[in-house]
Symmetry: C2
Subunit: 213 residues, 2 copies
Amino acid sequence: MRIAIPLFDRFTALDAVGPYEVLKFLPEAEIVFVAAESGPVRDVPTWLAITADATFNDVGSCDVLLVPGGPGSRALLGDDQLLAWIRRMHQESTWTTSVCTGSLLLAAAGLLTGLSATTHWAAVDVLESFGATYTPDRVVFQGKIVTAAGVSSGIDMALELAARIADQTTAEAIQLAIEYDPQPPFDAGSLAKAPQPAKDLLSKGLRRFERTQ
Amino acid sequence: MRIAIPLFDRFTALDAVGPYEVLKFLPEAEIVFVAAESGPVRDVPTWLAITADATFNDVGSCDVLLVPGGPGSRALLGDDQLLAWIRRMHQESTWTTSVCTGSLLLAAAGLLTGLSATTHWAAVDVLESFGATYTPDRVVFQGKIVTAAGVSSGIDMALELAARIADQTTAEAIQLAIEYDPQPPFDAGSLAKAPQPAKDLLSKGLRRFERTQ
């Protein structure tokens, strides 16, 4: 079972690595990071690079497509090479998935038109501009297309995928392997829950490399 | 504020990337991945590589040391170069931290003797063999030393660290930025919670690259 994860300049590493760390335990999985060119691909703010071991030309099909997001996704909404590759992967995939603003790329490829989907909360307008209907759920299944919300949500999505690809006991074993018993010290992980001062601080921009998604 | 994350062959990517994705938002943070040699460092099962941009010789001190774990950590419990570097970082650090079996490396460096600490649940015996007392908490603070449990726990640790380094509102803003509102589909993330069939499956080894941590 080939799982392909495309990378691009200014991607968000946790979008990719969260579900990677779950799906790699699936008994039949083989995971490949893919990019326009092979070699290291940098995130924002360029402190982290993951190596793409294959190019888009190398990967003609996959069973699971997992598209991460990141600030760089918006620059690729008209990138014919990437969008055509996404459409090609989707033709034969068992699952076509995204994390965070990765769903903008699925949408730009035309895959989400008329469907419910999710994305990072700060990217709702862009998602809907492509004809998808935003749903503020953490993980949204629409047939074989699965979209997850911002950044960390990919872990939850991948566990549900693992259960559907293998079975619930396998997914639970993976959850135990990565000791995923989340205990966030604060309860600010969604727009509905975050205190106003945190929202105000974030909207001003925590860092020079904002916008963050 | 320099944050140094050492990498080594057969590390676990989420151990490093989870807290990285939180701490990178801290206004003063600069994060560097470090290894014995610069260049890509492979995880298990070699499908993922993160680039080390500096060598241990390049980094003479840091404010925050964050040591990830992974199956490769056990091969380094007698590695003089790495352990000496960890001790050197600890001398001037504000925070010395670990995720998963990264705590075995802190312990082997002599930093946890007589302290309470945590690690991946499958590595308790090794941790205690170095004179630490295992505590099944997700995050354990002992002065400036902070250890986190298996793999995904680094996200929780990093949010708490962010609050202490900056303030709670900043940590909450980061939590919102990464939309960390965890909703695992199953409740199997600790030994106390996982159903017996999942434990049995994991103990048999899900994949050829087990042991997993």
